[in-house]
Structure formats: structure tokens, C-alpha cells
Subunit: 608 residues, 2 copies
């Protein structure tokens, strides 16, 4: 039943050689790889206002200079990543770039923060998408968390099915979103130019504001730079482009940067000019759209496309996380299971874990986007900084033609990313301190996992010098609970094995049982020796283990092997198992993990 439900949800298994090799053209790639970055404009501008509102609405004009700062940062990042694209045409994720140029541990820091970050990508995007929906339908606001969880489950299922095939269908929402925000900005600016918007809604630029401080402005700036999360996506995915892959990827990156710049500045400007105040239940984009269009058709189009692109952005996490996990697992830093492809050729373990962890995050943060964003942003700017620094080192080491310009560009990128990262620590320490605990913990875990895998490989490897003596003979122990077909079956098997000795062991809890059973046994199986282990404490495990130890001690002297044959009857239906004491299961697990003894289970299948 579980299996047929799985088929229904995920589809039938695919053969390994069905792994397609679809290459993306620029238009498609732009749509698919930029949903994460472009969707950030749905929450980035709001983050700036949330900081400024703590002073007063008069401070909102500062959002304009702050936005200019964010645009400069964007320019630096786009130029830096353009260089990474050409330097790493096979995909330059922060993990690889940092590991190659800065060494293993910086690479692991980048990899570890990205792993956590992709979980946050999913949590943030889905929460923000849910916000867009509940802004349009306020009565759903109370069900935010449940709606978000349902979306995560939906995306997880789609990814387990494998969504790459349906990539073309994924392109529409992105272009629809860009189009509808363009219309929003166009109509908004038109209204302003034609004088339909009261200029009293906003304070003019340069109005002095009491209580404003550099600290606060830095805080607003770092908040706003959360709109830049996702710009690294293209540089990770170069192998997916049609050739010439690097130059196509670079062009796509520049196009994405330009779109992002226009959308971001447009929304910040409209929010400023229309004097939008950030509110708990309604997003800033929703407020702007309502001011411009009222709650009409266009309003719902904008909310709908915003929700869609945000949920698509979550999907970016689903392509990136499993790939990074595979790289880390191949280097033996995380469990091997992440390298296995599932029925539909996706890395289903990675997909499943990602879904689970992001649901936990959504629950822990009660689906409140603004609390998730600082952690998300810092998790992005740590690998940003590391990969740009890695590129600096690379240029300096290799010194190809014209390296100085390239070095300067990546240095600028590194310095700005580092500054933004430090701003997060300085201005939002209360929200981002968990990073300082999680990253060392993850590094420690990586280290210990790697050490374990290496030690196991060492121990399993066959070195020719080790002698291996054949087994001289077998001593078989059969624990018996009664005189039944189950036991009969096991004894039959034991007799067929050419064993040196077969010993049946009975563990009675009462002295009377002991004698009665021995008498019956002598009648039934006179040629098999029966040992009774009276157990006044009503434990089967303890006396049996002690007995096995004794036998094993003697056997090892002459290179004899001890094995235990466990008779077990298998009920016809699964639920029947709870009606029977699971002594054989317990016995098997205990002996297998605690003692060096071979365990054989002889099943006796009940027919009804």
C-alpha cells in the first residue's frame, strides 16, 4: 500500500540511462535560474522600511540612498560572478571555489553555510509566497504556517517526481512576474508624473529626522541587501547552458542583474513616493498594488505572480541543495546516502531532508518571513565573501593576462560582501548569533564523519599480508521456546549443516517447567542435546548471552565458529506482530551488535 501510494505521488521508477541531458538556452535559463534572485524584490525593499519605521515615517526617504548602495553592491557582485563563470566553466559553487583556492576548511565553511542556506531559501521563499497570498486574502492569515507547509510538501513531491522535464512550464511565471511588476512600476510612475498622487504622502529627500543614526542606516542597508540573495545561482549551473556555455551564462547573468536592478529600484521608489508603511499582515508590494490598482484584477495578478515566483524560488533550493550534498558526500563529509539517486533519478534523500528541515524551520519561526531573512542573508554573504576571496587568491597566484583588473573586481566584491556580512553581525546580532554556533558544529560534524569513513575503509580493505584461517567446524546453538513446527523447522536446517555440534537451549522461568520440558524433549528429539538455563529473573537475553559466551570461549581455542539459529514464525499480517513478544528480534539485534556470533533466522511462515 505504501508502495502504491509512492507510485501515485512520484511516478514509476526510471532507468539510469534515461538521465537526460537537456541544455538550456538563454531565455529559458534566465527564467529558471533567476527566480530566486528576482523574487527577492518581493521582500527586500520591505526589509529596509521595517528598519526605518522604528524611527518614524519621516525617515522613509533614507530608503532611496540605501537602495543606491544596494545597487552598487549588486553591480560589484554581478561583475565578480561574471569572472567566476569564465574561470570555472564547469560550475563554480562557493564550496568548490573556496576549497580550491583557500583550502579545505574555508571550503567547508562555504559549503556548510550554503547547506543551511538552501534550507532557508526554501523556508523564506515559501513563507514570503504565503504572505503574498494572505495579503490578498486576509482571512487566510491565521493559517500561514499550514499553507506554507502544504506548499513545501507540494514542491518536495514535484521534485521527487523530477521537475527538470517540465522546465519550460516553469519559465512562464517568472516572465509573468517581471511583466506584472513592470506594469505596476509603469502605471505607478505614470500616475506620479500626471500628478494623480498627492506629494504629501512622502517626506522630501533630505528632511532632517530626529534619532537617525549611522548604526540604523547600516542595519537598513544590510536588511535591504537581502534582495540580492540568489545572484550566485547562475554561476553554479554553467554546465546546463548551451555552448558556448560560459559566455551564454555571463550574458544571462548580466540580463538578470539588470532586471533585478530595475525591479528593485522601482519598488523602493514607489514605496517611498506612495508613503507605504510596512505592516504585519500585508506586504509592501501588496500595499503598493492596492494603492495603484485598488483591489481589482491587476492587484490579484500581481499577488498571484508574486506568490508563484516565490514558490518557484524555493524550487531553486531543491536543485542546489542535493547537488551540493552530493559533492560533500563524495568528499565523505556527509552521509553517503546523499549520493544515491532515487526512483526518478533525482537525489531523493537530499530532496526529502531539505523538505523536512525547511518545514521544521517554518514551524520554529511560525512562518514569519522577517525573522528568517537575517539568517538567510548572512548565510548567503559568508559564501559570497569566501568565493570572492578565493578568486582574489586565484588571480594573484596564476596571474593570467590582464589579471590586475580581474583582481581588483573580485577584491571589490570580496570587500563589499565582507562589509555587509560584518554589518549583519554588528547590527542584527540578536537574530544571527545562531550562525556562530551552527557553522562550527557543522564543521565538527563534517570532520568526524570524514574520519569515520576513512577509518572504516582502512579496516575493510584487504591487505595481502593478513593470514586468514579457515573455520575448522561449526557449533550451532538453537534457542527453543516450545515443541512446535517453528522449532522443528530450525532443527531440520541445523542438522543439514554438517555441524560439529548442535545444542538446543531452553530458558524456563519456573523450576517445574524445566523438568517437564526436558522430559518432553527427550521423547521428541532424543539425538539433540538440550541445555536448560533456569532464569529466576525472567530474562531470556541474559542467561542465553552468558551461555553463548562460554561456548564461544571454548570454541575459539580450536578455531571453531559459533552460530545461533533463531526459530521465528512470521505472521501473515503485519499488525499481528504486536500480538507476539518480539523475543527473536530482540535476541538477534542484541547478539549481532554485542557479540561476534553468526545469527541465522529460520522463518516459519503462517498461512492464515
Amino acid at each position: 500500500m505504501v508502495s502504491s501510494l509512492k507510485r501515485l505521488l512520484i511516478g514509476r521508477p526510471l532507468k539510469s540511462d534515461q538521465l537526460g541531458d537537456q541544455k538550456l538556452n538563454k531565455t529559458k535559463a534566465l527564467a529558471i535560474l533567476s527566480s530566486d534572485a528576482l523574487s527577492s524584490v518581493a521582500y527586500g525593499p520591505e526589509q529596509i522600511l521595517i528598519v526605518l519605521v522604528t524611527i518614524s515615517a519621516a525617515a522613509f526617504w533614507y530608503s532611496i540612498p540605501i537602495a543606491i548602495g544596494v545597487l552598487i553592491l549588486l553591480l560589484a557582485l554581478i561583475l565578480s560572478y561574471r569572472q567566476i563563470i569564465f574561470a570555472y566553466p564547469h560550475g563554480g559553487g562557493a564550496y568548490i571555489v573556496s576549497k580550491e583556492n583557500l583550502g579545505l576548511y574555508p571550503g567547508l565553511i562555504a559549503g556548510g553555510s550554503l547547506l543551511v542556506d538552501y534550507i532557508l531559501t526554501v523556508a523564506v521563499s515559501v513563507s514570503a509566497g504565503t504572505d503574498a497570498i494572505t495579503s490578498a486574502f486576509p482571512s487566510l492569515h491565521a493559517y500561514n504556517v499550514i499553507i506554507a507547509i502544504l506548499f513545501v510538501l507540494l514542491i518536495t513531491t514535484l521534485n521527487l517526481r523530477g521537475v527538470t522535464e517540465s522546465a519550460s512550464f516553469l519559465a512562464y511565471p517568472v516572465y509573468l512576474f517581471v511583466l506584472s511588476i513592470f506594469i505596476l512600476i509603469g502605471v505607478g510612475v505614470f500616475n506620479i508624473l500626471t500628478g494623480h498622487v498627492s506629494p504629501t504622502l512622502h517626506t522630501p529627500l533630505g528632511t532632517p529626522v530626529a534619532g537617525i543614526s549611522l548604526f540604523l542606516l547600516l542595519k537598513a542597508f544590510s536588511s535591504g541587501s537581502s534582495a540580492l540573495t540568489g545572484v550566485e545561482a547562475i554561476s553554479n549551473a554553467i554546465p546546463n547552458f548551451k555552448s558556448p556555455a560560459p559566455s551564454n551564462a555571463a550574458k544571462t547573468l548580466v540580463a538578470m542583474g539588470s532586471l533585478l536592478a530595475v525591479l528593485f529600484s522601482g519598488i523602493v521608489f514607489l514605496a517611498y513616493y506612495y508613503g507605504i508603511r510596512p505592516r504585519e499582515e500585508v506586504t509592501v508590494v501588496s500595499d503598493i498594488a492596492e494603492q495603484i490598482f485598488g483591489r481589482g484584477f491587476m492587484y490579484y495578478v500581481i499577488q498571484g505572480t508574486t506568490a508563484l515566483i516565490l514558490i518557484l524560488a524555493a524550487n531553486t533550493g531543491y536543485s542546489a541543495f542535493p547537488l551540493l550534498a552530493v559533492n560533500l558526500a563524495k568528499d565523505k563529509f556527509i552521509p553517503r546516502m546523499f549520493t544515491a539517486r532515487g526512483d526518478r533519478l533525482g537525489y531523493s534523500n537530499g530532496i526529502g531532508i531539505l523538505g523536512l528541515l525547511s518545514i521544521l524551520l517554518i514551524i520554529a519561526f511560525k512562518g514569519r518571513t522577517e525573522h528568517l531573512i537575517p539568517l538567510y542573508a548572512i548565510g548567503v554573504f559568508i559564501p559570497f565573501t569566501l568565493s570572492q576571496t578565493g578568486m582574489m587568491v586565484r588571480w594573484f597566484r596564476q596571474r593570467p593576462e590582464g589579471w590586475v583588473t580581474k583582481f581588483i573586481i573580485n577584491t571589490t566584491g570580496a570587500v563589499i560582501s565582507f562589509i555587509v556580512m560584518m554589518m549583519f553581525f554588528l547590527t542584527k546580532f540578536v537574530q544571527v548569533w545562531p550562525v556562530l554556533i551552527f557553522i562550527p558544529l557543522i564543521l565538527l560534524l563534517f570532520h568526524r564523519i570524514r574520519k569515520h569513513y576513512e577509518s572504516v575503509a582502512d579496516q575493510l580493505r584487504i591487505s595481502s599480508c593478513e593470514p586468514s584461517f579457515p573455520i575448522e567446524g561449526n557449533i550451532i546453538i538453537v534457542p527453543v521456546a516450545g515443541i512446535t513446527h517453528v522449532v522443528e523447522n530450525s532443527l531440520k536446517y541445523a542438522k543439514s549443516l554438517n555441524a560439529y555440534q548442535i545444542i538446543a537451549v531452553h530458558v524456563p522461568f519456573e523450576r517445574e517447567d524445566e523438568l517437564a520440558f526436558e522430559a518432553k524433549w527427550k521423547n521428541w528429539q532424543p539425538d539433540i542435546r538440550l541445555v536448560s538455563l533456569y532464569s529466576p529473573y525472567r530474562s531470556i537475553l541474559h542467561p542465553l548471552t552468558k551461555f553463548i559466551d562460554t561456548v564461544q570461549h571454548k570454541a575459539s581455542e580450536s578455531n571453531y565458529q559459533v552460530s545461533v539459529i533463531v526459530p521465528q514464525f512470521i505472521p501473515k499480517k503485519g499488525w499481528h506482530n504486536i500480538l507476539h513478544n518480539q523475543s527473536s528480534l530482540l535476541l538477534r539485534t542484541h547478539l549481532l551488535y554485542r557479540r561476534n556470533v553468526i545469527i541465522t533466522t529460520v522463518p516459519y511462515h503462517l498461512k492464515k
Copy 2:
């Protein structure tokens, strides 16, 4: 570590022959067996007022005639149970009495409702005990559920240790409770007689009240009869009395009835005269005590002893539930595990399940006593009715000397119990309907479990006529994942078994791996045949199972036995297991439950 924690909490295991046979004298028995019944006065009177308050405070005078009705019911029950004691000197639980006289299904209805009821005993008593504590310390009111859960855990632990030895220590709280309520009643009545209590606090008897109805009065009466829960305890425990057990038990029962009558009428009277209104956060007993003593020493004594006796009453559930479970398990109606004695000779499975289920109930009902009581009371009056009816049938069938009087007494008991039960259904259907679903469900479950056990016993029994052919030879299949010590070990064992044939099976996911592995194998183990099962769907289980089926099909033609030897390495530390794909575990479980094949696990223990 788990094991040493268990030792610390529960104590070291006891030998079976340490099972003592302590008999109770009347004083001790009264204390131990009546905590459930006597403690009911802590919530019974309040239940009457909770119903009456829905009309108005003026209706409170009706609590006096209602209390008289409850006392008459009490008298009938005590007389009836006195007869059961003499008729069933070995313990006359409702299950046994109903089963013997009315037939299996009425017995099972009684048994099933009692099983559920003992869980409710624990939940109700602990919740009410917690109410007594939080009435005294209102700041704890918000933590009601957590406090109640902690108490359940404490009682469960004590019972797993085995509390019977400490029975004398359990007697004090009961007598202290009786004493302190006597003092309360004494001082309260003294105050009234000396004119210290304003007669305006209560409305005189007979005041006409608008809106009162027979339905409401019946509802109040049935609510009040929840004070009678627990009167059956003595009749279940006759074998624990010093001889002559029946007559001692009967005397104890009468003493308990008298005490209960005095306490109950006293509290109802004081509540009426002092004009106590039932409130959410404070119990009626607490209110009375505060009116009479203020928040002084005596107030805290009363609250403390009330809490103590209520928690002791929960303990009654812990002695009764496991015993009933043993009886039902011996008759094969519930899983066999309930008959096993734990390390400390208690029926630890029953104790543990009872603790768990009552915690779940407390959580589900948020620890609100008044919502639990109706279910509890109806679960008591169903077996009351059944066992009294059983006694009627018994007298009518056996007709011993003077049977008519006895018949009349039990008939009265049966009729009154039946009426109270019907009143619950009529007046509190919204709260008690789950009983109508649970009891049929439990009966169905009982029936199916019994059928399963009987069918298993049939199938396992060795009948002499069945022929059993010896195994002609063994075919051993060894799934191999690589060329390692683990595999080497398993092959060594396989070679020692005198098998007809050994086949190593490799499941490659890629065609290239297949050839490379075959070449390496030929070098390493030239004398063992290797079969490669290329698996394009990346499943190990499916191709292997198919292969085993083929081999088994051929083998069965000539009475050959197929066994699978699974190589498995055992990591040194438990947590390491998550770092390795549990293919061998999966394989073992799948084959054992789905196929008729013998599974041998050869462990290879890692040393670091």
C-alpha cells in the same frame, strides 16, 4: 546507559520466588482499597453544583435532595457488593461475574469498559489532585497539565518499582484525609450552630426556582453519582484479605460505605449552607475550607491531604488495570505481553501502557477534571449494571436458601445502576457518546485478537501425521558489495557449511562496474561462482529477490534449501549506523517477511 538509568529508577531485578504474599488486615485494607471511593468526595459534590449553577445560585438548595438520592444509591450498591463478596470469595470483578453468569460478550463489555475506566481513574484522580494543589497556589494554575503529567510519571515509576511492600506507608494519607475532612465538617457545623455563618448565604430549601426542570435535576443527580466511583474496589481484592477473607472484606466494605456517606453529605451540606459557587480555578472543597479556616494552616492541611488521597486513588488504577489485563490476556483477548512480569515482579507492560494512555487523556482533555468525569462515571456504571444483573441471574439459577432477599437486593442494585447509566446517556450525551464507539471497537479488537491466537496455536502444534522430509542439501547465496574483509568473512563461513553450491551475487548499477568487478573477483575468489545482476533502476532488493525466487524454484524440486548469507559490518558506535546505508538490514527484513528463505548474518565488528 539506558539500562543503568532503568536500574536507578526501578531498582535491581527481583527473583520470581521473591513474590511475597502479604495479607491485609481490615484497617490497612480500608485505607488502601478505599482511596478511590473516598477521594471521589473531592469532586462529586462539585459536579452537582456545576449543573445547578447553569440555572441560578438560588437552585443550589436542590443539592440536598439530590445528595439524599445519591446516598440511597450508595446504600443499594454497598448491599449488592456485599453479596458479591460472599458469592465470589476469590475476587468478583465485573469481568468475571458477568462472564460467568451472563456469557462471554457481556463479560467482555464489562472488561472492556473497565479497562478504559481504569485509565480514566488515573486521569481523573490526578487531574483532581492537581486542581487541589492549584486551588491552593493559584499561580500554578497555568501549569495544570504539566503537573498532572509529572504525577502520572511518578506513580508509574513507583509502580514499576513495585509499591505493594510500602503499603503501610500508603495508609496514612487516607486516614489523614478522613480526619481533616471530619475536622472541616465539625468546625463548619459548629460555626453554623453557634450562629457565626450568615443565613443569607444560601436560599432556604423549597425556594421556587424559575427554569428548573426534571431533566436538569436528573443531570445533576447523575453528575453527583460520580462520587460513588470506586466502591467496587474491595470486591475485586478479596484474596488480599486476612482470613476469613469474605467476612473481613464485607465489614471493610460497610465501613467504607459509612465513611463515604458521612464525608459526602457533610461536604454537600456545607457547600449549600455557605453558598459556595463552583468556579473554574478553585475547587469547592478549597472554597469551603477557605470560608471556614481562612488561608491558614488548616486550609493547607486540607488541600494537601486532598491532593494526596486523589493521587493515591490513581494508584488504585495501577493495581487494578494490570490484573484485569492479565485475566484478559490469559483468555487471549489482549496481547500476551500483558502477562509477563517485569524486573520487579509487577506487570510492567500493563503499568507502562496505563501511564502512557492516561497521560494522553490528560493532554487531550487539557487536564480539565469536569470534562473527564462523565466518561469516567459511565464507564463505572456499565460494569456496575452488568455485574448486578449477573448476580440476579446467578441467584435465580442456583436458588440457595434465602435467595429471594438476595435476588431483590441485587435487582435493586442493577435497576438503580441501569437508571443512572441511562441518565448519563440521556442528559450528557454530548460528553459520553464516545463510549458507544469505543466499546464496540474494543469488542471487535478482543474478538480478532482471540481468533488470531487460536489460529497461530493451531498452525504451530505438531501433529504426528504430518511427514517431514530432511533437507537434501543447501544452496547458499551471498550478496557481495565489494572485495572487503566483511565479504571474506562471510565466504569463509559459507565454505565451512558443506553446501551443495555457493553463489556470490553482485548488483552493479552501471555496466562498466559490472565488468571491472567480475575481473577482480576472478582473481580473488576463482572457486566461487559470481553472478552479476545489472540493475538499471538502482534497486538492490528487486533483482536480488527475483534471483532468489528463480534459485528457490529450482531448489524446491529436489528438496534443497536456499539460504542467504548477508555480510554486515558493525560499527563501533551506534550513531555511526546512520552514516552507512542500511542495505543489509533492509534486505534481511524484506526477505524474511516476504520469502521463505533462511537468512544468516555474518557480522564483522569494526575495532575503531
